[in-house]
Amino acid sequence: MDTRILTNAPYDVDKVRQDFPILTRLVHEKPGRPGKPLVYLDNAASAQKPRAVIDAMAHFMAHDYSNVHRGVHYLSQVATNLYEATRVKTATFLNAPSPDTIVFTRSATEAFNLVASSWGGAHLKAGDEIILSVMEHHANIVPWQLLRSRTGIVIKVAPVLDDGTLDLDALADLLKSPKVKLVSITHGSNVLGTVTPAAEIARMAHAAGAKVLFDGSQAAVHMPVDVQAIDADFYIMTGHKLYGPTGFGVLYGKAEVLESMPPYQGGGDMIQTVTFEETTFREVPHRFEAGTPPIVEGIGFGAAIDYVTALGMDAIHAHEQRLLAYATEKLRAIPGLRLIGTSPTKAAILSFTIEGVHPHDIGTLVDRAGVAVRVGRHCAEPLMDRFGVGATARASFALYNTEAEADALVDAVRAVREFFN
């Protein structure tokens, strides 16, 4: 992991919370019944938005809005400059070598589909192998299955150990096959919280002659990411989990890898010239961005990067690790509670089950205490099967959560046990 110098300023979570308007609201308010303060622990599904992001989007629409990349008029240039500034910010955020290695998509899911369709379509043939892990989100499974049904590629699955750590020995075994062309693995599991050793995985994959893709949808939110240090060929992240708007995703790709890929979707903005006989395409990354892009969302995402950068990803990481340690200890003390995912390298995501109580019931009950958690399969059905559970409850922490909120979760979970006893 990145070891930049930790910031010395103490992390003032109370001050941070004031940046998020939604955190002051009450839930389950009814006439004659006071509401409960919101304890938002569903951040791995989507994070709340700071005022800076909300204002940037509103201000852009009120003052600077226009389509981008095509007009000669004043506002078109203003909007293009602002939108492209987000590309520069994103490159800096991921320590990518150039903004031209940053492709904007409408979601992380679209980024996976882009790589599978474009890179996979051009470089993989029947019998070629790709390696996923058992803890992948469906977004890093299904696009490859669609490609498999078109091309006949073979999907291999790297297992995890009982604590949710990626089984590197098994991965090494899978990499012995000369047919492996790609390892596509999460950098941080949305269910287990497991942070995978990305640099090591990349070394192993490259030694075997394979490319490597990391799903950073969770990891890039919780810690500093340096795509050059880990030597990723592809790195994918999403905007809405990084306190930005929905409808915005990022695909980083090494320049030479992106250059080797045909367009994904066709349309406006991605072309140089079009005739009915022949069309030529724009340079990377614009070749992969067909149609009017998510402009307002891009402005919001840029503001989100500015926001977390000002706080410092190291400081955010340290704060969340304190919360993780605190909540883990408290939850573990609850009889009948099973934590799913106890890897030594974890993001602040806690999946659990309670003996005799279905996660769905846990979710409904703790919600009444104002505590928002996710329950279900978390778009990771194979992982549920791996751990022999139909579903889990999941509390996921963000930069604005507090120890008091972890206490609220623990109190609510204890009350759930009593309710069903």
Partner: protein
């Protein structure tokens, strides 16, 4: 902490959730369907034994799910016994209305067994929890599929 949840989780529901009746795959049955709620991962099998007279002689279920879905399946198997297919479907129609609509919006699904209606009323609290309606109706959708010979159903 959860006082206002007692409407949803009534004692009868907690009881049936913990100790479901007619649970397990029976030796004899002639209709069966598997139901699944992909959102929460609940899976259920409903086994029916329908006699020559067209009446449900026996109903069982197995599978896993939340307290609401387990209790609903358990209560359903109890109320189905002795019903014709048409009566079972009418009860499903009523139950679905009860979980999703206000009383005055209920439609006529045909003659209903008042005893069964009363028994199922403990689940009416689900109406206030739209996200949980599918938990309560999963068993019924699966029963419907079993009667109609579809071996798989989903509440999606």
């Amino acid at each position: 902490m959860f006082d206002d949840l007692r409407d949803l989780y009534q004692e009868v529901i907690l009881d049936h959730g913990k100790n479901p009746r007619n649970f397990g795959k029976p030796e004899n049955f002639n209709r069966m369907a598997r139901g699944e709620n992909p959102l929460c991962g609940d899976k259920i099998n409903v086994y029916l034994s329908i006699g020559a007279d067209g009446r449900v002689q026996d109903a069982h279920f197995d599978g896993r799910g939340c307290a609401i879905s387990q209790a609903s399946a358990s209560l359903m198997t109890e109320t189905l016994k002795g019903k014709t297919e048409a009566e079972a479907e009418a009860l499903f129609g009523h139950f679905h209305d009860m979980c999703t609509k206000d009383d005055h919006e209920h439609t006529d699904h045909g003659p209903l067994d008042p005893e069964a209606v009363e028994k199922l009323d403990v689940l009416s609290g689900v109406r206030e929890f739209p996200m949980r309606v599918k938990c309560a109706t999963l068993a019924w959708h699966t029963m419907h599929a079993a009667i109609h010979g579809d071996d798989k159903t989903t509440t999606e």
